[in-house]
Symmetry: D2
Subunit: 301 residues, 4 copies
């Protein structure tokens, strides 16, 4: 009945790396939040404080910044693959490296209708996400890549119903044939290959998610999520799984009738808490094992 | 040497009102955060707890929601004027009403290239602001309206210098002829009249602020702010004052040279804190007195 | 190669339930943030929008509030067990119910040295956590309970070293024999039984975590975390696993020497980002399988 | 009708300075967030970008850190006075310097009942505040000091009524003789002198604010605030004005009666938004002019 060291990892979180491409007068910007996490043979550091196998988190930071130039950030997935591979390839004790990236998107400013060469406004629609996990060497090498997005706030003011649900003594909710449906979407998708046109795929997936949310006449947020995920898988063979998490941001019809003021789905209170939280996965039945692809660094190990 | 009741006000803050216009199949959305604050003859409530002159904050809330239908929200300034006037006109003890509004902007979704009738994605570029303060009745009636924005994150990767500054024994900063300049802009502008095409004016002012930031070759954030404010005043006669507050969001060139990796203004660390904070006002020399126009409800009274 | 519905769950997140015990003049307060998540046979809701098996998230909310009185909140773990069991027991389609609770702690106010009966100040040291997962019926019934805490900000200004680490070309960090070590601790512990004196155990575990952080002369945050977890397991047989996640909140010695001002570990800059992030698990080698105990609702399903 | 430069200031915001006193084995900690703002003859920087009169915000930062050793941080008010005076005294163009400080408080850890020499847990009850504004030289020198606190979350589960208020057609609120009253208090107090035992005064004022909130049987939050402020002024001659801002954090009685579950002020929903916001000032009728004492740097200039 011994007490043993279980799961563990360590790294440097939230390196705020901004990469400017300025080889021509028209600059490009990549604005990243990069976290690196290593797993491997680090038991001595935990058990006795012996650091001989520990690459300092500061060294990981230096590498992450330097690789923004050395490997470049043409795409965040490409950058993540280079950085994660470096850690696994160069250091004996490191068995697995995970790189998680948030990318903040920017809109190029126009001046008098002409796009400016080096000025942008931050586009706040959503944050783009990617994770790369690299494990093992040579024939044992395995790689998982996920893309994703968060904070995509989307709302439809019609085309959403909710009725026919299970009822119990605590059920006081009225069924409805017309309501606001709104969420702040979190989505993740797992690739079955690393041979992907990353930026083009991101744009395509976001487009499908948004268009499905808009187009599908919804009987429940559950149904909407499923179709969003399924439509992505139907469109892109290189994606094998889509996971969606969607708070149901309730917009309650405000009772102005008691003041003699009609309110035909026109005035709502956007409530903060509580909120419904609906989660769904669409996956190919022959998808390879997810392995550590979804082991987010922000959670407990 | 008595102790007396000084400045005071009370109201209901952060009513999250969403107004949908659905008179045609193509809906419109106005997504607001509305706060109301009243000043007047409320000493009894403070001194003895006697509420006879106090319109409950709950009643202010009900009115704010109901007015989203009764007065409508064609523009936030128009809605704010109606709501603030109501409070001053209807209740003897209320001498001044202030309505502060944040508006969250939405982009209409396109599906297959066609704009959708009732689905939007939240546009996160900036939050639009307005305040309306109404005071007194009849000939004593006075009204102040301000517009504004916040959270406009804007960055230029060139066209910014900083040198020639005062030096003291604590000055270790190196002068530079080329740096990143970035800020998360807060701007407020005061109108000299209420006869304004509100939405058109908002769009125009935002355009001028952004275009000036982009176009002006900057020797300091101070200089950039001044020209942003001045250009707004030069463009629009109905604006009498512009106030700007701009954190200098430092992007420090990362030292990758020590790893043999050149870095010609290409890789930066986007730092969180501390940050420079620069504030400026451009005002007409014949501007009427600001009165309570800038007494934000979020501060101490 | 069909596309199928994978992992899914749904529920109501962040019910802000405050329970006052007022059976005697001396009140007690329990201040909770409760989330409920259900798994089961809900495929129809996702695939076709048919809600016949779906207990609305609103009904879950009503039950959560009503159970604060019906079952009471003597302890959050006891309340969670009652609520989760209710969902699994009462509804055929529900196969698993998870209840996650944050508890905000309050200090009783003293007036003139005497404890007040019904006034408290929020104690901001940490947030207490619990999760209860209930699955199956009768002989198939399984239950997992975890406790935890977050936002415990703890700092030692000496007694911490870091040296002897792996070096590579990106390693510029200087070894140190005396540094500030600070973190904002997240901890979770899994119980092997439900026969636990919950509040007493919470207090004991927090005490061990804090005392170990203080007492252990640290060679690395890794070592400190391991000993914190191990000491909890050694003290309490009913705990089978401890998971710890600890940002290394860097305090960098400020270079005031260049101004002729000595700084012998006296003036530091508390940096925001990036930060080291160290995670560790201490577990009994005969611990039962964790099952869904750690499947936090906040992550992707 | 020229356009002119109006109010302006600039500085370095949110220097996160941690000062450890370690002259004896028993360390002490002062954990600060310091902002400096300068006013003066800086028109050239704004109008033409000429920086000859501008002390860089980076130099202000260096000074703020160095002064944590040079002047020390025995009290935050003392430190702020030294730092603000330095800026005004040393630089011709600087006419006014303002230093704003947030102090995060820490509780010393006990191990086995014995206080530890150098380990603390962050006390999250409230954040302590101070501002120092220094203007002019020699006989023209003027100084304003304010203290304060924020984020003090305080709740009473009885002893609070609200009735007898003004009614209009939008008034649907029910009067009550027993409700929860809770707020997250922001308080500021202005001193009439700089000869003050700063830490002792802070402790005393916080105690009075908390004890008054607890003890006063409340007919309205307005009344409670007034008495909190007045009681501070009655206790301390060196304080001339107290400003209070208090969100009324609504706790709504939850309707469990419809499920046959009685709820005698036992189960509440702690709502987020909207909230009442009540502000009051207690001031001596012979208080000197507040001047710039309340011109918070976070607002528009």
């Amino acid at each position: 009945m011994a007490i043993i060291l279980g799961g563990n990892r360590y790294g440097k979180a939230e390196n705020r790396i901004v990469r400017i491409y300025r080889d021509t007068p028209r600059h490009e910007i990549r604005d990243l939040n990069v976290s690196t996490a290593l797993r491997g043979d680090f038991a001595d550091a935990y058990l006795t404080g012996d650091q001989h196998s520990v690459l300092p988190t500061d060294s990981q930071k230096q590498t992450a910044y330097s690789y923004a130039k050395e490997a470049g950030v043409e795409t965040i997935e490409g950058y993540g693959l280079a950085l994660a591979s470096h850690f696994v390839d160069e250091f004996e004790p490191i068995e697995q490296a995970r790189v998680e990236i948030e990318e903040y998107l920017w809109d190029r400013v126009s001046v008098g209708g002409v796009e400016h060469d080096f000025t942008w406004v931050r586009n706040g629609q959503e944050v783009r996400l990617a994770s790369v996990t690299v494990e093992g060497s040579g024939a044992q090498r395995r790689v998982w890549v996920t893309g994703g997005l968060k904070d995509l706030v989307i709302l439809k003011s019609s085309g959403s119903e909710f009725h026919g649900f299970l009822k119990d003594p605590y059920t006081v909710l009225e069924p409805t044939n017309d309501r606001i449906m709104a969420t702040s979407l979190v989505a993740g998708w797992r690739f079955g290959t690393t041979d992907v046109p990353w930026d083009e795929r991101y744009a395509g997936i976001k487009r499908i998610l948004v268009e499905t949310f808009a187009s599908l006449h919804s009987l429940a947020l559950q149904q909407t999520l499923w179709h969003m995920g399924r439509n992505v898988l139907e469109a892109y063979d290189d994606v094998v799984e889509v996971r969606l998490s969607a708070p149901n941001k309730h917009h309650f019809l405000y009772d102005t009738q008691r003041f003699g003021v009609p309110n035909d789905n026109e005035v709502f209170n956007a409530d903060d808490r509580p909120y419904g939280l609906i989660q769904a996965t669409a996956i190919r039945d022959d998808a390879p094992d997810a392995g550590p692809a979804w082991d987010a660094y922000t959670g407990l190990v």
